[in-house]
Subunit: 114 residues, 4 copies
């Protein structure tokens, strides 16, 4: 079994073994995910851009945990709806490439934003 | 090349081709990620739990895009620090299993929370 | 001095007395605010709608603190730019009333959303 | 009637006139608030610290609207639970002053953080 399949299985077993399925509705999972994403933000909030780009080992270990939490909830929401995250991201990249043509967006990110 | 490697390559080329690297600092990417996670939240915010669990095709397509955006920024932050999301998530599951022993958390999610 | 003026003064003195002004840039304060707003979300995330509408005294006390934190950062951002929150909210209500005419939005919130 | 009382009245009438009360549960309002806080974050996300501290008039007008939206939802949640935001913030400042003694936190924000 590859590691991604193992992760999916572990995530499912974790909730099943604790009878937490009733909590893990998509609406609740979206709330949990934004909280974890905000914990990623919190790691960087008082750091200068230079400090943020080069974390200490302790900060990096903390970041790794918060990214993991975000990823676990993201995976659970996607799985609930049968969405493959890699497929969805590739489809979104196709769309982004049309929305922000490289020739019109050199070094400027706000250019074609609504 | 597998699809995950393809996605990584596409994400890197997208920023490089637009000279957007200067915007994509970890601090800024964390801000962008929480915004996308909040767009996932927005999809569910006025729905009843029943509506949220069974989206219309249009809502599901919208969700797929917002999950994709969250995943792309999550991937970019992880890549900046050389963090493998699947490894990080498996390590976090180990920790969660110790923190929330199944026997003490049957059907109750707040039990051993701080 | 009224209590709102007192709060403003306390918030300013708190940062000044600790020499934290360098951390409290608008960008950093926006990051801190979304983190606090996500802590409000966290209080409700595993609760049923009924539980969420009628918190226990301990949950209500916790909520009061997280709302306070969100309000403090909101006030700091507004003050930085000389924005009066009550004026801004009244102006936004004018706009909302035009955007969502009551006659066209009876009991349906998604009706005229983009 | 003072302007804060006027705002409270306008916010209540807005929901009542559209029969939106059923949507505005505390749980849903918390979700809406974090989305608006994330829209504040979005304004700053690609700006340098210098650009973020001194917005253009158009950016400032946009910020004013997003701060207003955050404030409206914050007010609605507080009102649901009979919480006075200014009282709650003053009580939190008392607590912060004990938690972060000025003498031990000169110019360093992470010092006594957990």
């Amino acid at each position: 079994m590859d590691r991604r399949a193992e992760l999916k299985k572990r995530i499912e077993a974790f909730a099943r073994d604790r009878k937490w399925g009733k909590y893990h509705t998509p609406k609740n999972l979206a709330m949990a995910m934004v909280k974890e994403a905000a914990e990623v933000v919190e790691i960087f909030q008082w750091l200068t851009p230079a400090q943020a780009a080069k974390l200490t080992p302790a900060q990096r270990a903390h970041l790794s945990e918060e990214l993991a939490d975000t990823f676990v909830y993201l995976t659970k929401i996607a799985d609930h709806f049968g969405i493959d995250l890699v497929d969805a991201a590739l489809a979104k990249m196709d769309k982004n490439e049309l929305k922000y043509p490289a020739a019109l967006n050199q070094g400027r990110i706000h250019k074609s934003r609504p």
